[in-house]
Amino acid sequence: MKRRALGFLISLWAVLTLNFLLPRLLPGDPLAALLDPSSSAYVFNSATRASLAEYYGLDRPLVQQYADYLAGTLRGDLGQSIRLNRPVGELLRAHLPWTLLLTLTALSAASLLGVLGGAEAAWRRGSATDKALVVSSVIASNAPVFFTGMILLIVFGARLDWLPLAGGRTAFARYGTPWEAARDYAAHLALPAVTLTLALVGSKFLLVRNSMIGVLGEDYMLVARAKGLSTGRLKRHHALRNALIPFVHHLAAHAGFALTGALFIETLFNYPGMGRLVFESVVARDYPVIQGVFVVVSALVLGANLLADWLSYRLDPRRREAL
């Protein structure tokens, strides 16, 4: 497990370095537009140009810049947004919790549904229930999120008017009780979370179903049945417990997919997470923000993998020696 943690740190360092190097490998530099006489943003005053370079630290040697960058990042300083002229760290702190709320809700819901449905479908392999679940999961996981999201918006938001159309909470609302606040947040979260859950649940269902079918064919399941154990114990204590081992790894690999999916859906539902921030930053070429998001998302995905390793270490005694 120590080796895994070390691997996590090395990967994180590699991500940070890549994040530092990539923009510097592009032709020109961030101030090129300001220094190009043909550009509309050309700065005529050479003293201004020099102080700009000094302000952004671009006049220092690359190694120095790298050290400053690493130190800044570790302090939580991810630079300054060019578009909004606010620290990137502050922007992320404002938007990241929303994204995390959406992603984790959808991931949990999709995992729960995928595991329960997959286990049941595998147990009744070949039955009508199984076939219906397989078909609907394939459809759900292949429909584009903007399509499902749009349909949900039209039906539940516009036609039925059950749920709010956009935003993360009611603007300017004042909550009397925490319960009221929770209801408001949940109502806004519902549609984006359902959309993301639908996008995620299919692959989880299929994976659990397949690995469960594999486990059900193992000799130890036959022995467990021969031992006269109850159906519930066979299904959960033996079959599902073993089928979850590959699922944990899938979950980690899927965390990145879930996050990017969340970013799309946030734009669609105008949810206040990082999705809109990224979208607007890309349009405005606000590199510091994009880079900040890149670092945070990478760190989250790496963290999810570390967590998965730890979980599979807990779930599978055979891995304890391998780690």
Partner: protein, 591 residues
């Protein structure tokens, strides 16, 4: 006598086809047996005979609807119970130690937890109580607390095998089913498991149903044995009787293929393959592989019934004597030119039998009457008295035309090939000669059969080779031609008189192997006459020792070689070739 603990009657396990329109797989097809409390029964058979499926059916582990017939445990009918009714029976009354203990444990739980699991589930024991019971069980199979704390992947196959037994015994079942407890284990681990099973059954009075193809293990563990072939029982009886004197051709084949320390001869597998359970053969399921199958075997399914004190499923009452000779006697009279005429009793009151598919070695020194006996059997000489019955038909002693068609079923491979073929004939003519004599088929058919026979003995079938004369062939080639001549009439019995004595060791080995293969493949009987014990022991199922015109000793090869009863046999054994290093008197072993 009280009712048996387990009474299986007409049990069938028929699996629905994988795709519609295909026939179902009849894996177990009408099996009946009974097992008394505290007794032991082994089910033996090749892989695919349905043993494991049968074992699982006794625990209700097959899909509902695939099992029919009756299984009664202590009078309670088990076939047709639903899962809810099965559950309390499993492990508490019938426990199963599965075949592959290596994969029989859930990889994510400790051994102690898995062994204690049935106790907690069935008996409502607390975790601590179950662990304490598990510790006692583990001690009983010779393992320690350390093994209880281990995960399956941390233990060896042998350890898991023992823990499997400990787990099977946890609820003290009345019936323990053990599926292949010794397969895939080294000899020491195997011996330990056998000793353990014996001790367990003796101590607890547990009835044991052993599923195995390990005949030695069966002989040590089971009082009764039932031989299963393609889902049906072929032979049932006391283990000692069945394994020491198999009566069903299949049991006999199984034993011939089984290596044990007392076997001297080469192993021979049973010819052909186990039939596919979706397309079982008509009639007797073993008939395509049986050497003695008659028309009835192809049409009518034989019931399992008593034949001379043994329960057999065979129309012919088990292995038949292919050839039975009784009281044969032959005396030669010298012509008296060199002195008074003398009677030489070459064969004196000899009786012998050759069973279906059997290789019998007839050994003895030169002049003991072996060759004369061989010639009497094939009809080259007429005995003065005695009788020969071949395939149930008595042969006329004066070699009349009435028995000609029977005679063609017995062929002789003579000692010296150069002596036994005409130097003026070609290879083709030599091999075709018996066909010409018997007027079998058209000339074209005869030529085709000549080619087949030559191919069977590994000779070229080119026209150029067919046109050769004996002097153009090597000794080994010519002997093969002679064998081909013997085979061309598709005989049922071959009498081979010193068939390889003229050849060098390598050519000998090749020809003997060839003869053995042909014998096994075609299911013939073979009477191998030889003075070379070292050679005979590699081939023969039984050995007869002949001296002065009489058979003085006979029995299974292993027995004759290991415990020769007659002084003459011992002398032959001492004289048989063996490497015995030359040493000088100074003690060095270098000349």
């Amino acid at each position: 006598m009280s009712a048996p603990l387990l009474n299986v009657h007409d049990l069938r396990v028929i699996f629905a086809p994988a795709a519609p329109g295909q026939p179902p797989a009849r894996v177990v097809d009408g099996v009946s047996f009974a097992l008394d409390a505290g007794d032991s029964l082994a089910i033996v058979g090749e892989t695919g005979s349905g043993k494991t499926t049968l074992a699982r059916a006794l625990l209700g582990l097959h899909p509902a609807g695939s099992v029919s017939g009756s299984v009664q445990l202590g009078g309670q009918e088990l076939v047709g119970l639903d899962e809810g009714r099965w559950r309390p029976l499993r492990w508490q009354r019938i426990a199963l130690a599965v075949q592959n203990a290596g994969t029989a444990f859930d990889p994510v739980y400790r051994m102690g937890e898995q062994i204690g699991e049935p106790l907690r589930e069935h008996r409502g024991l607390s975790s601590a109580e179950a662990t304490a019971r598990a510790a006692a069980l583990v001690a009983q199979v010779g393992l320690t607390e350390r093994h209880l704390r281990a995960y399956p992947h941390q233990l060896s196959g042998g350890e898991k095998q023992r823990l499997m037994l400990a787990m099977a015994l946890s609820c003290d079942p009345e019936l323990l089913i053990v599926d292949e407890p010794t397969s895939g284990q080294d000899m020491l681990a195997r011996a330990q498991v056998i000793a353990l099973l014996r001790a367990i059954c003796a101590q607890r009075g547990t009835a044991l149903l052993l599923i195995s193809h390990d005949l030695a293990a069966v002989s040590q563990l089971a009082g009764q044995v039932a031989v299963l072939y393609a889902g049906k029982l072929a032979e049932v009886g006391a283990t000692r009787d069945v394994l020491s004197a198999p009566r069903h051709p299949y049991t006999w084949g199984l034993l011939s293929a089984y290596p044990d320390m007392s076997t001297a001869r080469d192993l021979s597998g049973i010819r052909g393959q186990m039939p596919d359970p979706t397309h079982p053969p008509t009639g007797c399921r073993f008939h395509p592989r049986c050497t003695q199958a008659v028309d009835e075997c192809r049409r009518v399914e034989p019931p399992l019934q008593l034949h001379n004190g043994r329960r057999l499923a065979c129309h012919l009452g088990g292995l038949r004597a292919l050839l039975r000779a009784e009281g044969l006697r032959k005396t030669f009279t010298t012509n008296g030119h060199l002195g008074p005429a003398q009677n030489v009793e070459a064969v004196r009151n000899v009786s012998l039998e050759v069973y279906e598919g059997e290789v019998v070695g007839l050994v003895g020194e030169t002049g003991s009457g072996k060759s004369t006996l061989g010639r009497l059997l094939v009809g080259l000489l007429d005995p003065e008295s005695g009788s020969i019955v071949f395939e149930g038909n008595p042969l006329a002693l004066n070699n009349g035309s009435a028995s000609r068609h029977l005679r063609r079923r017995i062929q002789l491979i003579p000692q010296d090939p150069f002596d036994s073929v005409s130097p003026y004939l070609t290879v083709c003519q030599i091999v075709r000669e018996p066909l010409d004599v018997q007027r079998a088929g058209t000339p074209a058919e005869r030529r085709e059969r000549v080619r087949e026979a030559l191919a069977a003995v590994g000779l070229p079938t080119l026209d150029a080779f067919l046109a050769r004369h004996p002097h153009e062939l090597s000794g080994g080639q010519l002997q093969r031609v002679v064998i081909a001549r013997a085979l061309v009439l598709e005989p049922k019995l071959i009498v081979a008189d010193e068939p390889v004595s003229m050849l060098d060791a390598s050519e000998q080995a090749k020809l003997i192997t060839l003869l053995e293969d042909i014998q096994n493949e075609r299911g013939m009987g073979l009477l191998l006459i030889s003075h070379d014990l070292a050679l005979v022991r590699k081939v023969a199922d039984r050995i007869l020792v002949m001296r002065d015109g009489q058979i003085i000793e006979g029995g299974p090869s292993s027995q004759v070689l290991a415990q020769p009863q007659h002084e003459y046999t011992r002398a032959l054994l001492r004289a048989a070739p063996s490497f015995d290093w030359y040493t000088t008197s100074s003690g060095g072993n270098r000349p």
